[in-house]
Amino acid sequence: MLNVLTLVTGVAALLLAAWCGWAAYRDQPTKDWHFIGMAVVSLLAVVQLVVGIVLLARGEKPDQGTTIFVAYLLGAFACVPAAGFMSLAERTRWGSVTVAAGGVVLAVLEVRLYDIWGG
């Protein structure tokens, strides 16, 4: 369950990165549609956070420790919204680059989460 969610979130994050990278390539700031995309990815991260906590509450143990697992869940949850707010403050192509970087960072976090949970 969690691994499927991790995979979906990671792929969605990469798609978001590619999309915003494309906007940056065309010298455009992030637009409403990009923010909807960020909201979708953030929603996936929230669902992942909730599912992760529920699994922990039901007594399952991540391979590499509960603390690290929760820390990465929180990091994954905060990642895209933080980049989104920064792109609101920077209404040029560099705002788009920042969100693209945020997507890549989230994808990396998802890979780590997969390892930490233990596939």
């Binding site: 603390t67 990091g75 980049a83 920064m86 560099w94 970087a101 960072v105």
Partner: protein, 143 residues
């Protein structure tokens, strides 16, 4: 003297987070969270295993935090301070990177700066270079 000149030339603080600066802040922010949370966890749970490595990660986290703050604050003083810290950061990455390759025994566990930051896609070594370039480009124009 220099301060007076700056005041005349540039009444407002130099903004360091416009354009590419925003991307730098993002990456520095990520590194702050990464280095600080990692070192806090490792120092709290397992400090005796690799005291040197964990302390270095903590120092790296503090340096990253200071650079992030300087970038966001802006202004010539902050720019200079950030420049010094980025140089220190670069020196740190290069020293620790070489050290981990020459004498792996000193590091039972890896740091943020091990192998020039390979575990972090070499961001630790690329970041100070691009930051130094960016800070240099934004220095106050001297008359």
């Amino acid at each position: 003297m220099a301060v007076a000149e700056e005041k005349r030339a540039k009444p407002a603080r130099t903004r360091l987070i416009s354009g590419p600066g925003m991307l730098l802040v993002w990456f520095y922010g990520v590194m702050v969270v990464g280095a600080v949370s990692r070192s806090v966890y490792q120092i709290a749970t397992d400090f005796d295993r690799a005291p040197l490595a964990y302390s270095l990660s903590a120092v790296a986290g503090v340096v990253y935090g200071f650079i992030t703050y300087s970038l966001v604050r802006g202004g010539e003083t902050a720019r200079r301070a950030a420049q010094v810290c980025c140089a220190a950061e670069l020196a740190g990455v290069l020293t620790v990177g070489t050290w981990t390759l020459v004498d792996p025994g000193a590091f039972p566990d890896s740091t943020v700066w091990s192998d020039y930051g390979m575990g972090y896609v070499f961001i630790p070594v690329l970041l100070p270079l691009s930051a130094l370039y960016w800070l240099r480009k934004n220095r106050a124009v001297t008359p």
